[in-house]
Amino acid sequence: MTGDRPAAPAYRKPVLTLSNVGLYAAIVALSAFFLFPIYVIFLVAFTPTKYTLFAGRPPLIPPALTWSNLQAGLTGANSPFLPSMYLSLEIAFLVGALAIAIGIPTAYGLSRLGSRLAYGLTTVLFIVNMVPSITIAIPITVPFIKAGLYGSPISIGLTQELLALPMTVFLLVGAFQGLPRDLENQARVDGAGRMRAVYGNLVPLIVPALIAAFLLSWMLSWDESTFALILYNPATSATLPVNIFLAFTGRGNPAVGVAFSCVATIPVIILTVVLQRYLKGEDLAAGVRG
């Protein structure tokens, strides 16, 4: 288990010595690599397009700033922005809620099963995460059309859940395993049924993990574009990422894509920073332990 972390290395005063110069040079170079594309998103969103999309040598320092790209994309005639954002929000909340609804019993069950069976079932969930989205999305459109659900938030949410559920379960299994076993036994001795013991006594104690799982699932859905692309109904509306994809692949206005990108990116960047301590290697690697 990684629970018993080794003691932290003896703390040395971090000063910029000769031996540190290489370290800081590497950090600066890597930071520039990770930040530069985000700066480009900012440039393209807030600089007149003659200096960005249509420039032969786009300037690195913006000669002028403008809101007109965002305005054109978000409020221009025929802009699909509002219905698109509404659909994205609806699906993201659905995926988050479903992840919690299915994730709690699944994670509780896995945390109580024998290790071999739990390992096998975890692997099954893990495989689901690896199967190509496009392989699943194409055949699944047919039953959705038959059921009259083509392009509906439910159909897109149910497929995106395939990506959110395994991560949610891994995160919640860790949370359940972190609780003292006696809590549940005590509640059951006191006469609570198993459901009461789980939902009344255990679940309230893992609320922080539940919030994290909900938000991570929300975020995953907000950014997801393969299921959302194959399953959207062109007659109604598509999610933000799908509209961005269509705008950048020749079936829409790139300025709309730029504006949507900006709006779609900001909440997720905030969530990523807030949630980074919940992004654990053990969860991403299905509980690999060295």
Binding site: R5, P6, P9, Y11, P14, L23, A26, I27, L30, F34, P37, I38, V44, T52, L53, G56, R57, P58, I102, T106, Y108, G109, L110, L113, L117, L121, T123, V124, L125, M130, V131, P132, S133, T135, I136, I138, P139, I140, E161, L162, M219, D223, S225, L240, P241, I244, F248, T249, V258, S261, A264, T265, T272, V273, G281, E282, A285, A286, V288, G290
Partner: protein, 295 residues
């Protein structure tokens, strides 16, 4: 499901005593059943459906036509491009991630800020990342990478001329977006390596490089293998990032599936390419099971 049968089959005992002995386990298993039904219906069934569709046409119940047709259109080239991209992207992001993870294993001022900066791309939607890198590395001689190079009097470069160049540019974009995922897994691995091993190695006179080779790498092996397989399967699935940046040249399996499906090529031809994609991912899945089972 199948796994439950296996656990049941191991102990052929009278029903009543089986229930009594395994009551807790059976109830725990029942909690997992809804999730298993869900992934069965929404993941495994459609995957098998794809395989079955790939051997059909509107008039034929069983045929290899879809595969033969795709082979003539260049299936082997698409497979090659997909595998080269996978290999390149993996090599790049593991080199970056090993470096970053070993930086994050140290204590230094600004560590939190660096960790946050590194993780930001996870929050950028794939389609946005694709567009951004298309603005940095376009095939037109314009773009932000050339704006930087112009300061040094170099360029302009037409980044997408050769196939390998186009794939390399996609690999860079993908590594930008996903290296943090690898770092997170490797950092978890670092936490499992006892500090005493480093002290012992240092006492024996091992410098940083030898410590990395003889302490860090063996300690991280399980994590590296797992991260390689997980990321490998996801690289094979790169779709919109590549399509926005380089279109169809060179062509990838995923992009071909999408184009066949949307441009009238039909669900049957698309399913054949999709099945090939699934087959490559299945190799990664098998390796995950083998590697996982050996531990």
């Amino acid at each position: 499901m199948a796994l439950a049968d296996r656990s049941g089959g191991k102990a052929p005992a009278p029903v009543a005593s089986f229930w009594q002995r395994h009551k807790e386990q059976i109830i725990a298993f029942l909690f997992v059943v809804p999730a298993l039904v869900y992934v069965g219906v929404f993941a495994f069934y459609p995957a098998f459906d794809t395989i079955s569709l790939s051997f059909q046409t509107p008039i034929l119940a069983f045929t290899y036509f879809n595969y033969q047709s795709n082979v003539q259109s260049g299936l082997y080239t698409w497979i090659g491009n997909t595998l080269w991209l996978t290999a390149g992207a993996l090599a790049l992001q593991f080199a970056l991630a090993l470096g970053i993870a070993s930086i994050l294993a140290r204590t230094f001022r600004g560590k939190t800020a660096f960790a946050t900066i590194m993780i930001l791309p996870i929050g950028i939607a794939t389609v946005v990342a694709g567009f951004t890198f298309q603005q940095i590395f376009p095939g037109t001689g314009a773009g932000y990478a050339n704006s930087i190079l112009a300061n040094f009097g170099v360029g302009p470069y037409y980044w997408l001329n050769a196939n390998w160049e186009a794939l390399a540019v996609v690999a860079i974009a993908d590594s930008w977006k996903n290296t943090a995922l690898v770092v997170i897994i490797l950092v978890a691995g670092y936490a499992t390596i006892p500090r005493a091993l480093y002290q012992a190695a240092a006492i024996d006179g091992a410098g940083p490089l030898r410590q990395f080779r003889y302490v860090t790498l063996p300690g991280l092996r399980g994590f590296i293998v797992m991260a390689l397989l997980i990321r490998g399967a996801q690289e094979v699935n790169i779709f919109q990032l590549a399509y926005i940046m380089i279109g169809s040249s060179p062509q990838l399996l995923t992009v071909q599936v999408y184009l066949l499906y949307t441009s009238g090529g039909g669900i049957y031809l698309a399913s054949a390419v999709s099945t090939v994609l699934l087959g490559i991912v299945a190799v990664f899945i098998l390796l995950v099971i083998l590697v996982g089972g050996r531990r």
